[in-house]
Each structure stands twice: as structure tokens, then as C-alpha cells.
């Protein structure tokens, strides 16, 4: 891939001026401390779940985060079904895995686009999001919606994947694989991207352990964890796939892992579709009368890491207590280690590297002079600074 001309077409990201989530305290160009203000998105979901039936909770939890829309129902289903000892049909396990992996593909492509934007490669942003579209179309064909799929139910899934949909899906996967090859080539071989991402936002295995970070953030630092392999659920122990890890721990490593995981997801879906042919169509749900009293602890591997749900039941129709932990909750705390000591221009990409929920990444960072306490830069400025650094590097090379 030759050098591209980047035409800056303005700040694409809808940036909110005021409610800053992250405060980076700076001494000159260097970040010396970091604080996270949260609660803007606090919708009291756990409390809302207590007033819904077990079945209705699925529709609440899939709206916790729009990008991880399958992972929360997945973990919740694992939790609730474990209370009742519910065994779901093999066909349902395969369909659950297919939808879960499709989500991983769309989420990782989304992230590549965002990272491209932060670096000033707006073409990468456009491509990545354009290549996502066929995946969203497949979601619409399989589940009825581009986001918020409402596929999960207690005991199985709500819709089946028939022969026609399966063959369409296979074609889309071929297409996505080709496009991912293009993106991987463009991103991984670009010397400017190497210069911008290598050695930036580095986290050690000890950092990961201290904060309980998960997902690609952890795997990039050599911590070999993945819920799909460590505590298998759905169809993940029925297919061949590998956990991608590396040891450098910087942003480049995290980007590489996400791209390689996309290939693994494509392979998992293909294998699941093969296995699906052997299962009787239509058997997608086990009938469940009610959930007994007890405790259910379920987790699932979302694109960002482990999603954890704790459900306490007292035998009635609704959960007594539902505790939800999204992976970003543990990963965001690592900013203390990855941003501090670095420059402000690297802060945008270092924070984006853990892939916090898009909404969180957006309205966030502000830079504060730690001596005077005055704000020196807002989010737009910080992203512009990051893009400017890329331009300077390109000019040097």
C-alpha cells in the first residue's frame, strides 16, 4: 500500500464540549495524573432489572451498551440458566455463538475506524465503517435489527438461522475477510502508524493484574485469559479456535490483536454454520417453567473483555439483585498507568486503545494544568493534537 493523501474533512466525531469524563492533569506536555468523572450515563439499570421479569431483563441489558449488545444478554443468560440448571439445545448454542462472533467482528472494525480517526487517518475510518455495513445487514437479516438484536431468551434463542440465511452469511464472511486483509495491510505495514502506536500506552502484566483488566487490553500484555476458553459456554468448546496474545502491551499490540481476532471470529462462525447443518431446524429453545431460588454467576467474552453478571433469585418472577460489570469498568482504570508519563498527544490514542464504549471515548478528555488547575485543552483539541503529531511524523519520514 503506497502513501495516501489524507484530506482532513473536519472533526467527525460528535464531541460534546462540556461533560468531560477524563481529566488529564498535565505539566507542560506530560500527563502527570488522571481522574475519571462518571455517572453521566448512570441509568440505574440494575435497579430497573429488579422490577422486570427474568425474560424482560434481556431487553434492558442489551441496551447497556449498543456495541456490546449481545454480550450482556449472553452473560445474563449464562447466569440465569445456571440457577435453574437449564440445558439449551445444541442448535441454540451454535446460533448464540454465531451472533456473538458477528458482534465481535463489527465491534473490532468499528474500533479500527475510531483509532484511524484519532490518528488522523480518516480514510481508514471511512473504510472500516463501510466494511462494517454488510455485517450489520446480516444482523438485520438474522435478527431483525442492526443493533439490539433481542435474540436471547431463557432456554435458547428466539429466531432460527435457515439454509438461505446461512449461505448469505457465508458470502458476507468471505467479503469481510477480504476487506479485513486490506485494512490489516494498510494499518500494520504503515511506518507512521508504527511510530505512533508502538511503545505508546504500554501496560505490563502487573498493571493488568492490579486493575483486573480483561479482553484485548490484557491479552496484549501477555495475560492469557479468555472466558470462551477458560470457562466455555455456548458452542466455544465445539469448534477450533485460538486465543490471540502478544507481549508488548502497547497500542500497536492491541490493534494487532483486534485485527487477528476478527479472523478467528470468521473461522468460528464458519465452523458453527457447518455444525448447524447437523442439528434439526427449529429446535432453538428449551421450555423453562420458572427459575428457582439461588445465585447465578455468569460471564461472557465481549469484544472488550469479560462481561460479568451476578443474579440472585428468590423463586419469584424477577431478580432480587442483579449486578452487572462491563469490561470497560476494569479496563479504564488502567489509564493511570498507560497515560501518566506520556504526552497529551498520545493520550487520545492510549485511551482509545482499551476500547471504552464509544460513548465514553467521545466526550471525554480534558487536559488540566496541574499547577494552576486551569483547563488548557478540551477533547477536540486533544484529538487535533494527536492528528497533528501524525502529520509531523509523516513529514519526517
Amino acid at each position: 500500500m503506497g502513501k495516501k493523501t489524507i484530506v482532513p474533512i473536519g472533526p467527525y466525531h460528535p464531541l460534546l464540549e462540556e461533560p468531560e469524563f477524563f481529566k488529564l492533569y498535565c505539566d507542560g506536555e506530560t500527563v502527570v495524573d488522571m481522574e475519571w468523572e462518571t455517572g453521566y450515563n448512570h441509568r440505574g439499570i440494575e435497579k430497573i432489572c429488579e422490577s422486570k421479569t427474568f425474560e424482560q431483563v434481556f431487553y434492558v441489558v442489551e441496551r447497556i451498551c449498543g456495541i456490546c449488545s449481545t454480550s450482556h444478554p449472553f452473560a445474563y443468560a449464562n447466569a440465569v440458566e445456571s440457577i435453574g440448571g437449564v440445558q439449551i439445545p445444541v442448535r441454540a448454542k451454535l446460533i448464540r455463538s454465531i451472533v456473538g462472533e458477528l458482534e465481535r467482528i463489527h465491534s473490532h472494525l468499528l474500533w479500527v475506524g475510531l483509532a484511524g480517526h484519532f490518528l488522523g487517518y480518516n480514510t481508514v475510518f471511512m473504510w472500516a465503517w463501510k466494511y462494517r455495513e454488510p455485517v450489520l445487514d446480516m444482523f438485520e437479516i438474522i435478527t431483525g435489527n442492526r443493533n439490539s438484536y433481542a435474540m436471547f431468551t431463557i432456554g435458547g434463542v428466539r429466531r432460527d438461522i435457515d439454509e438461505a440465511k446461512a449461505s448469505q452469511l457465508l458470502q458476507v464472511l468471505d467479503d469481510v475477510k477480504r476487506k479485513t486483509d486490506l485494512l490489516t495491510g494498510a494499518v500494520m505495514d504503515d511506518p507512521v502508524i508504527h511510530a505512533r502506536l508502538k511503545g505508546v500506552g504500554t501496560l505490563t502484566a502487573k498493571d493488568i493484574h492490579d486493575f483486573g483488566a480483561v479482553g484485548p487490553t490484557a491479552r496484549a500484555s501477555g495475560v492469557d485469559i479468555d472466558v470462551r476458553r477458560d470457562d466455555p459456554y455456548a458452542a466455544y468448546d465445539m469448534v477450533d479456535w485460538k486465543v490471540i496474545t502478544t507481549t508488548e502491551g502497547d497500542v500497536f499490540a492491541k490493534a494487532k490483536i483486534r485485527l487477528l481476532e476478527t479472523y478467528e471470529s470468521i473461522s468460528i462462525i464458519r465452523q458453527c454454520l457447518e455444525l448447524l447443518k447437523k442439528e434439526k431446524p427449529g429446535e432453538i429453545k428449551t421450555k423453562v417453567k420458572d427459575i428457582p431460588a439461588g445465585i447465578g454467576i455468569g460471564h461472557a467474552e465481549a469484544p472488550r473483555g469479560e462481561v460479568f453478571h451476578y443474579v440472585k433469585s428468590d423463586g419469584s418472577n424477577s431478580p432480587v439483585r442483579h449486578k452487572i460489570r462491563a469490561p470497560s469498568y476494569n479496563c479504564i482504570t488502567t489509564f493511570r498507568r498507560s497515560c501518566i508519563g506520556g504526552t497529551i498527544s498520545d493520550a487520545a490514542i492510549a485511551t482509545a486503545a482499551v476500547d471504552p464504549c464509544y460513548c465514553c471515548t467521545e466526550r471525554m478528555v480534558q487536559a488540566i494544568d496541574y499547577k494552576t488547575g486551569k483547563r488548557i485543552m478540551n477533547a477536540t483539541d486533544i484529538i487535533k493534537l494527536s492528528q497533528k503529531k501524525t502529520e509531523e511524523l509523516k513529514a519526517k519520514m
Binding site: 475519571w36 462518571t38 455517572g39 448512570h42 440505574g44 440494575e46 435497579k47 445456571s82 440457577i83 493484574h209 492490579d210 486493575f211 483486573g212 483488566a213 480483561v214 485469559i225 477458560d230 470457562d231 466455555p232 439461588g294 445465585i295 447465578g296 454467576i297 460471564h299 469479560e306 460479568f308 451476578y310 440472585k312 428468590d314 419469584s316 432480587v320 439483585r321 449486578k323 460489570r325 469498568y329 476494569n330 482504570t333
Partner: protein, 148 residues
């Protein structure tokens, strides 16, 4: 992983554990007192290198139940430590000195349940708006006869 052996070893090491229960496939719940919590946390997090997941808290009839969840990724077991705090004295030592990552969830529990984590490095409001009233804790229940 031989869970019976594991439970025996744990009881030997910490004889004052209140109870240990296998609540489900690969899910262990260990009931401890306030004083034992730092010892077992230290053992699990530092010695056995379990992964910290999260802390869940609930207002139950018998008190505030705080559960610390850890994962033993090698075996796939999730190990949880449950501590019960009396309704009239909801205080407990902060585990942040041992597990850095616990800092935020303890602040969240302070906001929503009003449990006090002693010696917390930054016991400030976290989740709720500044305008939210000081003494109102959204996750506290008012127990009456027949409530769950």
C-alpha cells in the same frame, strides 16, 4: 481442579471461615467475617494470583451483603467472598491497598448503598450527581413484613 481438596486446604489455612459452599458448576462462595476479609483477599489476589472481577453489594434482610468476586482463570472457577455487615453499622476496611482496581467499585457502593469503606484513598462521590441528596441511597430497601 479437585474442589474438595481445595476446600479442605482453605479451611485448614483459615479455620475461622464461616462457611464454604459450591453454589453452582465452577462457582464457589466463601462466607467470612469482616476481620478475615483482608487475609483471604491477600491470599487469593497476591499468592494465588486470582483475577479481580468486581464487588457486588446488596441490601438483604440480614444486613448488607458485600461479595468480592475473583476468577481462577486456569481452572475456570469463580471464587466469591461474602461478608455480611449489620444494618446499623455498615462499615468495612477498604481493600484498595491490596487490590488497586477495587477503588472505584467501593466508591460506587458508598454512593448507592451508603456502606463506609474505611481508609479508602478517595472516598468521594462517584456515580450520583452532586445534586443528589446526601442521605438517600437508591439501593437500600425498606424492609417490611413479606418483603424479599
Amino acid at each position: 481442579m479437585n474442589i474438595e481438596q481445595y476446600i479442605t486446604n482453605l479451611r485448614e489455612k483459615f479455620p475461622e471461615i464461616i462457611n464454604i459452599e459450591v453454589i453452582n458448576t465452577k462457582r464457589l462462595m466463601v462466607y467470612v467475617s469482616r476481620d478475615q476479609l483482608p487475609l483471604i483477599t491477600e491470599y487469593w489476589f497476591n499468592e494465588l494470583q486470582y483475577r479481580y472481577i468486581i464487588v457486588s453489594a446488596m441490601d438483604s434482610k440480614d444486613g448488607y451483603e458485600i461479595i468480592y468476586h475473583y476468577s481462577d482463570d486456569k481452572s475456570g472457577w469463580i471464587m466469591s467472598l461474602s461478608v455480611l455487615l449489620a444494618h446499623d453499622k455498615p462499615e468495612i476496611e477498604s481493600m484498595t491497598p491490596i487490590v488497586y482496581g477495587i477503588e472505584w467499585i467501593e466508591r460506587e457502593i458508598m454512593d448507592i448503598l451508603g456502606v463506609k469503606f474505611l481508609n479508602h484513598p478517595k472516598p468521594e462521590r462517584f456515580l450520583l450527581a452532586e445534586s443528589w441528596p446526601e442521605d438517600e441511597y437508591p439501593y437500600r430497601r425498606k424492609y417490611r413484613q413479606g418483603d424479599r
